[in-house]
Amino acid sequence: MEIAIIKYNAGNVQSVMYALDRIGMKYQWTDDEKVIQSADKVIFPGVGEASTAMAYLREKGLDQLIPSLKQPVLATCIGMQLLCKDSEENNTTCMGVFDVPVKRFVSADLKIPHVGWNSIQASGENVLMEGLKKEEYVYFVHSFYAPINTYTSAICDYAQPFSAMLQKDNFYAAQFHAEISGVAGQKIIQNFLAL
C-alpha cells in the first residue's frame, strides 16, 4: 500500500511518521502532485496557523489537488480545519470539502486552548472508531473548532459540543492527534489504513 503524507509548512509531522512506523507501514512525505494522486491513502496532518498554511497550499496548488482526491484521505488537527469552509483564525478561506465554518472557542470559565485528553463519542456510523468503545479518550490541542454539523462522525464536549471527527465521502477528519492518542489513536489510524 502506498501512503502519502502531505508535505507543507505545518509542523509535528514527525509524530505521524513514527505512529506509522510503530504499526509497520511505509509512507512518503511529499508535496509532489503525482505521488499524492497515485497513493492508496493520503494523510493530511499538521499543527499550525490557518492563514499561513492555506497560503502555502495555494502557492503549491495543493488547495486544488486535495479536495479533488478520490482515495481515502485522513486530515488531522489543522488539516481538518483546512478542509472546512473557512476559519475564524485570521479570517481564512479554506478548502471547503466540509461546508462548515471553523470557530474560535469562547468561554468565561474554561481554559483556552483546549489541551489534554477528552472523551469522544461516535455519532452515527463511524468506521474509524470500529473496535473501540462507545466513548474513548484522545489527545486534543486547539483553540478553534468545527461546530456539530451534518458531517459530524464523533462528538467531543468542551465549552459546548463540537465535532471531534468529520466524514464525507472519501474524506475523514479528526480534530485530535490520533498519532499520540495511545492505543485508541493507533486503532483509529489502523482502521483508516484498512479502508
Partner: protein, 252 residues
C-alpha cells in the same frame, strides 16, 4: 469531559534515567525509552524528560534519545533542560518531541518565549517556573532552585502567558522532595489567574495529594518522579482512586 493529567517525570543524564527506579519488570531500569513506554502502558497521560546535565556535548545524545522515545511512545511527551534557542527547540521537535520546556533561559531573556511561540506555536512551549517562598513572598528561582531572582512568581506566571507560553510547569522548591503534598495555595492562585493549563510539581507523596492539587490547587495536571519510579504509587491505581473521588480521569 476534559480529564486531569498524571505526568511522570524522568530525569536524564547522558541519555540514561537517573535517581534510580524500582521496576523489576524492566530489562534495564536506566533505559528512558523502556521506562517511558511502560508508563504509557500503565496509563500515564504524558511524559516529561528532563535533561539534568544539559551540556552541549550531551545535546546529540538527547536528540537521539528523543527520536527513540518518539518511535516507541504513543502519548505526548515534553523535553526540558538547557534549552535556550530556536535551534535547540527545532532539533528536539524535529526528532519527535511534542513539547519543550524552558526555564532559566526564559528568565534570562523573556523574549525567547515570544520567539519560540511565534516560530513553533504556543501549544508546544511550556515554561517551567521553579519557585520558593522567601521572606513573605514567592520568588522565581533558577539553577535547579538554588539561585533566587528578583522576579515574583505570580507576576512571572502572568508574563510568560502573555508572551505566548502554552502551559506552565510550576515546581515548588519548598514542597519538592518533602512528600508532604503539592503547594496547593500558590498553584491555585496561579491557575485562577491563568487561561493556560498549570502542571503542578513538587511534594507528591500520596494519592490524596493528587486529589488535593486538582481540587484545592486547581491544577490541570500533576507531575511527580520518585513516587512513580519506586512504585510507591502505581499510576493505574492513582487514576482509579481519583476517578472514584470524582476527578475526571482517562482510564481504559
Amino acid at each position: 469531559m476534559l480529564t486531569k493529567r498524571i505526568i511522570p517525570c524522568l530525569d536524564i543524564k547522558e541519555g540514561r534515567t537517573v535517581k534510580g527506579t524500582n521496576f523489576v519488570d524492566l530489562r534495564d531500569a536506566g533505559d528512558p525509552v523502556e521506562l517511558g513506554a511502560l508508563y504509557a502502558e500503565q496509563g500515564a497521560d504524558e511524559l516529561v524528560f528532563l535533561d539534568i546535565t544539559a551540556t552541549v556535548d550531551n545535546r546529540k545524545t538527547l536528540v537521539n534519545l528523543v527520536r527513540e522515545v518518539a518511535r516507541h511512545v504513543n502519548i505526548p511527551f515534553t523535553v526540558g533542560g538547557g534549552i535556550s534557542s530556536i535551534e535547540d527547540v527545532s532539533a528536539l521537535l524535529n526528532a519527535g518531541a511534542d513539547k519543550v520546556s524552558i526555564n532559566s533561559s526564559a528568565v534570562r531573556r523573556p523574549e525567547l518565549i515570544d520567539e519560540l511561540a511565534l516560530q513553533f506555536g504556543s501549544q508546544c512551549i511550556i515554561v517551567a517556573i521553579d519557585t520558593r517562598f522567601v521572606e513573605g513572598n514567592d520568588w522565581v528561582h533558577t539553577h535547579g532552585g538554588r539561585k533566587i531572582t528578583e522576579i515574583q512568581t505570580i507576576a512571572w506566571a502572568k508574563e510568560v502567558e502573555s508572551r505566548g507560553a502554552g502551559e506552565i510547569l510550576l515546581t515548588s522548591m519548598d514542597a519538592d522532595g518533602t512528600k508532604s503534598g503539592f503547594a496547593n495555595d500558590l498553584t491555585s492562585r496561579i491557575s485562577s489567574q491563568s487561561s493556560i493549563p498549570i502542571i503542578a510539581s513538587g511534594g507528591a507523596g500520596s494519592m490524596e495529594h493528587f486529589y488535593e492539587v486538582f481540587t484545592e490547587g486547581k491544577a490541570d495536571a500533576g507531575l511527580a518522579a520518585s513516587i512513580f519510579h519506586f512504585k510507591e504509587i502505581e499510576i493505574i491505581e492513582l487514576k482509579k482512586y481519583l476517578a472514584n473521588k470524582g476527578i475526571p480521569m482517562r482510564i481504559y
